[in-house]
């Protein structure tokens, strides 16, 4: 399988005043095309930091990140935002939908950053809303949706521009057990159907079970 992402000796250290706090230590990791990976570990183990680096929204202190075999350079932000916009999808723990936009407009937003025509945008957004079972609620604002429905909109938004990798930071944390299971199953289905690599962080053992590959992280080190 084609490698999507590679981490080589990645370290990330935060500084709190004069105190240096290592969040990731010497991480080596490789994610292939179409993988469904859970990053598991207790709170403060470095899951979110790792996801931030995978999502190219944070910069490692040292080490090399390769995305589709190209070394990521952090000198110019324009290349990075284009990479994120074209290749990466994000699902956030608290959904992070734009409150003034309805479900359709929230899903449409990433496509507004591309050159996709209005007609194609409409078609693609409707496909995605249909896929997550929310086409009938397309005109609803986030406040008019339940937690599970909001997370479905977030998933549709993460996938609408056909990214290569979708990152989900604790996607089930704000949901009840049943809804969390449903959301994970939806992600797994989309992973299968769209051949998109899914990487999600969780500390819930029930959710971890669904993953095809589990990366355990503890004190900033990958332990398996």
């Amino acid at each position: 399988m084609k490698k999507r992402l590679e981490f080589e000796n990645i370290c990330k250290t935060y500084s709190l005043g004069e105190v240096l706090i290592p969040a990731l230590r010497d991480v080596n990791l490789s994610i292939a095309e179409g993988e469904f990976v859970a990053i598991s570990g207790p709170s403060g183990s470095g899951k979110t930091t790792l996801l931030n680096l995978i999502g190219l929204i944070d910069k490692p202190t040292s080490g090399t990140i390769r995305f589709e075999e190209n070394i990521i350079s952090y000198n110019g932000s324009s290349k990075l935002h284009r990479l994120r916009q074209a290749r990466i999808g994000f699902i956030f723990q608290s959904f992070n939908l734009i409150p003034v936009l309805n479900a359709f407009e929230n899903v449409e937003y990433p496509l507004l950053l591309t050159t996709v025509s209005a007609q194609q945008r409409k078609k693609r957004v409707e496909e995605m809303l249909d896929e997550v079972g929310l086409l009938s609620l397309r005109a609803h604002k986030p406040r008019e949706l339940s937690g599970g429905q909001r997370q479905r909109v977030a998933i549709a938004r993460a996938l609408v521009h056909q990214p290569k990798i979708v990152l989900a930071d604790e996607p089930s944390a704000n949901l009840d057990t049943q809804t969390a299971q449903d959301i994970l199953q939806l992600m797994e289905k989309l992973n299968r159907e769209e051949n998109v690599s899914f990487i999600f962080s969780t500390h819930d053992p029930q959710i971890v079970k669904i993953a095809k590959r589990v990366v355990n992280i503890r004190d900033g080190r990958i332990s398996n």
Binding site: I57, H81, I88, F90, N96, P99, V100, L113, A158
Partner: protein, 409 residues
Amino acid sequence: MKTKFLKLAFKNVTRNMRRTLITSMIMVFGCIALILAGGFIKYSFWGLSETSIRGRYGHLQVFQPESLEKEEDMPLQYGISRPDSLIRVIGKLDEVRFAMSRISFMGLISNGDKSVAFMGRAVNPEKEQKLTGFSMKMETGHHLGEDVFAQNEDEVILAKGVAKSLKAEIGDYLTVMTTTTTGILNAMDVKVVGIFSTGVPEMDVRFLSVKLSTAQTLLNSERVSNIIVVLNETDSTDKVAAQLSEHLSGFAIKKWHELATFYRAVVKLYNAIFTFLGILIFIVVLLATSNTMMMSIFERTKEIGTLMAIGTSEKRVLANFLMEGLVIGLLASATGLLLSLVLSFVINQSGIMMPPPPGSTTGFPLNVHYVGKIYLGTFIFMLLTAVLSTLIPAFKASRKRIVDALGHI
């Protein structure tokens, strides 16, 4: 696609309606203040310019150049000879309503017991009344030359201060004394036919007016001091001045505003006040809008992080917030313009009287001119201020670290 972002900006602006309304109201009041002040100042300029033209200067004046450069040793030393031929040439121009001669002279006027110094103006009564009838308020009696049975009479009309000082009444005879063009003291009796007010206290105690023929007899000269040109439209002043310069070589042509030093001083002062007002409003709007945008950005920090994480560029984040500033500016300016129109109409219809301005004895109606340039200028000024005040908060928003923004609570 840009309309989508504009729509998003509009939605974001209406997100916190109370805050947006407060900011918009500040901008609306700014708009109204600028437009009403500008309209009132324009009205004042118009009033003052018409008063200057009608009351004193006409639109243009023709002089012998020496009279502007040198001090006369004798009255009318640098006056214009054969003014009638010049008046005929000037009268042929399309934009000219009429032209007339004037003599400015000084001397003493006496009732036999008391003498006072005066500043006199000798005029063609019929033409002069067409020009200054507007500004010269006759309190008793009538203008020069109105008595058809006394056309050859040497008449005088006195400013009310002069009349009061000499205890003169209509029908009284006074003696006017001055030096002739050859330096000899000359005197003649004149009949008081009118007492008027100039509206300027300093002028009211010194001013009088006689017919041209009276002054020419008194001064023993056929010359006149200058020729006053009155136009159909004030706007054609520059054009006619240029034409006269071509037609009347050897003469100096002065436009009314070159002669009206008081008008120029007032324009300068009012423009400075208006600029100061503009700066104050600019600062108030800048602070209000900046504050709104800063609060809005602070509240939406996590959202900014989300948008940037999913691929929104820094430039797009900046543009989105600038667009929000533009939307607020657009809505507030449009409302401000509309309300200014309504308020101007109400003020103009209300008939409110303003107190007399400094140096004047009569009040004037409060009026606000509708000036397209002021409306357009204020609209653009407000838009630019709104966008400018958004610039710094928006720039800060676009430079946020995504991870920090996402972690914002």
